[in-house]
Symmetry: C2
């Protein structure tokens, strides 16, 4: 078992990484939350087999374990499903020590995490991510939330978990497209923070893509550590440092919005967004051709798309980017690479350049 | 103008106390939030005249000021009204620097505050309380939230305001019953923290009750300072210290729940709750008869009730107290006085004693 410690003062916690050792989750929860005697296990229709066995494990560990299932899919990140979790917590007679155990992908982590953040002004939360994306990204960092009909993740709050339990064996049931999508965030960490990790991915793309257990453990552990490093320095997204994690995301958000959620998976949109960001950085003279082609090649080797499936009007995409919640006063903001392993924030990119990148994105 | 500083590290803020000087609110907001260029002013149907003039004031100060009104009353602290505020923020094209300005009583402060806490993972919040209760209590301390069909304030989070603006002239339009209800929390501060303040209230009960401006300023300023002192020491209700503010509230919560919200105003329930708590403390030998009679006399002089309007079954009341969110593992918790100006937490009070207090409460 590997452990990644996230240091956030009184809100510090451990990320435990295992392969098929979830029988030990009860001990992990007891150690992280000695006062807790009841838990609500939340899952979706696809993560449910894992959630059910976790409910049984926690019951065996002496915890009173209720459960709640929501339909799989992004649409569950809504006020109605949130209200359903509040009801389930009430039915369980939850008190302030009752923990929410989120077993699923980012949808479950965000939804159940937000319920934990807001029920009784805050319940302890244990994340048990079951998708690659949620293991390397959404479970680490304390962002929780739901969608507004007009905007993704528009409603939410910061609420750090008391612990994160990663069992890589859960990935065995994950569909290939979902798995590959999660790799986009992994590549992102290499580009923005760690050139050596990027090189490791280049040399081991086959092992990673075929879910070799050793490669998986290395990739997920390193990704968690890199994200935790950033979160430790800018927990509430205030100093601007955390913004580096948005590499590729201003573009991705526009693709997701204009394409309608569901056309592209999040990681696929991020992959295309990183390609666009790299093109933009090259046009600005920040990086050279070699950077762009190494990134394109790696994304490609991992099975990720680097161009949108259809052409969306650049005007629409730009309108979304100006409204992006990271934008301030309607100004587009981009995180762009200056060399492999380093990115900076740019908020003065000429719009025509962005337009050129968007318009050439599909035709390559 | 008086100022009470709430010291919470990076979340510190000022409470400004004025009498009819709200023309200066624009400068106050600009000083507290130099980066803010737009605000959403939220009010209810009764506070609306004040909210409208504040919207005009802020517009004159160069801020883009949208507005949202909800119906007056506790029922507005619900998911539907919350969703309405999210919509209003979206329509305003709110970004992370957009401030929510809550103009109203505790209902508006809690609802608009929770919207601020959760939109875009946290917008700045300015509280402009217009009831006595909200001036001395709900605007200070960072608790925000809404009700669940099964429990009051069951959904919420901690979100400190960037500033609180108290204009005592707003109290001129407040109905007498609402004003008097707010005085219960004022008496509470004297009992739990400050015997001299309690004595001041005894000597000046007439001036206070008739809203003499000088007495009002003194009472509101001192109450804010006392609450701020507690909040500074236990911002997130973790060390147990903040629990002293719950004096009278375990009982009050049960009265409000069993009576149905609306029968008793919150302060009225707290007043009766303090009477019960004092009786309980006397039966436990913690205090003498003199304490009880001084408290009863002061509550009475201020026009506050000290017994429930009808007899509610003690079983029902006790059941609610065991489910109170401050209870842990079904154990009732009481904050009880040990002398004037000092209270302690007791979680081992014999149920029969509680029952006796409840059963004798109406018949006096
Ligand atoms: N909080 C954050 O910091 C953060 C960061 C990134 C993304 N997110 C959010 O995460 C969400 C995306 O996460 P996601 O990609 O995990 O989506 P997801 O939760 O929808 O999971 C993807 C699909 O895989 C299924 N699934 C989950 N685990 C499975 C398993 N072990 N076997 C088989 N199927 C399984 C799910 O039911 C779903 O159909 C988005 O809502 C996004 O906004 C949040
Ligand atoms: N967040 C906290 O720490 C905290 C603390 C105590 C109470 N609360 C909450 O506060 C709420 C009670 O607050 P409240 O007593 O202010 O209730 P309220 O907001 O409902 O106001 C009472 C009544 O006065 C009206 N009103 C408000 N200002 C007025 C004015 N200037 N002139 C005329 N009418 C006016 C309102 O429309 C309402 O009808 C409850 O929901 C309670 O849970 C919160
Ligand atoms: Zn992402
Ligand atoms: Zn109160």
């Amino acid at each position: 078992m590997e452990t990644v410690r996230v240091n956030l003062g009184s809100r510090s916690y451990d990320i435990a990484l295992t392969h098929g050792a979830t029988a030990n989750l009860g001990a992990f929860v007891r150690a992280a939350l000695p006062k807790t005697s009841s838990v609500l296990v939340v899952g979706d229709s696809n993560s449910w087999p894992h959630a059910e066995s976790i409910q049984a494990t926690l019951t065996r560990a002496g915890l009173r374990a209720g459960s709640a299932v929501v339909p799989a899919g992004e649409a569950s990140k809504c006020l109605e499903r949130l209200a359903g979790l509040y009801d389930a917590l009430y039915e369980l007679a939850a008190d302030r020590s009752t923990a929410v155990v989120a077993v699923g992908g980012g949808v479950i982590g965000d939804l159940a995490g937000f319920a934990a953040a807001t029920y009784n002004r805050g319940l302890p939360l244990v994340m048990v991510p079951t998708t690659l994306l949620s293991m390397v990204d959404s479970s680490v960092g304390g962002k929780t939330g739901i969608n507004h009909p007009k905007g993704k993740n528009l409603i939410g709050s910061f609420h750090q978990p008391a612990g994160v339990w990663i069992d890589l064996a859960f990935l065995n049931t994950l569909p290939a497209r979902e798995f590959i999508s999660g790799l986009a965030e992994v590549v992102k960490y290499g580009v923005i923070l760690d050139a050596a990790f990027f090189a490791y991915l280049e040399s081991n793309s086959h092992a990673v893509r075929t879910r070799d257990p050793g490669a998986l453990l290395r990739v997920v552990t390193r990704s968690c550590r890199l994200k935790a490093d950033v979160v430790e320095q800018d927990e509430y997204e205030r100093t601007g440092l955390r913004a580096v994690l948005n590499y590729g995301h201003t573009f991705a958000h526009a693709f997701e919005t204009c394409g309608g959620y569901g056309t592209l998976l999040h990681g696929e949109a991020v992959s295309i967004g990183m390609e666009c960001a790299a093109q933009l950085a090259r046009k600005l003279g920040l990086i050279g051709d070699e950077f762009v082609s190494r990134q394109t090649k790696l994304l490609d080797a991992l099975g990720l798309p680097t161009a949108p499936p259809t052409r969306w009007p650049a005007d629409d995409l730009i309108a979304v980017m100006r409204r992006d919640k990271k934008a301030v006063g309607g100004q587009m903001r981009f995180i762009l690479p200056t060399r492999l392993g380093e990115v900076k924030l740019f908020d003065d990119v000429p719009e025509p350049l962005v337009r050129t990148v968007l318009e050439s994105a599909v035709s390559r």
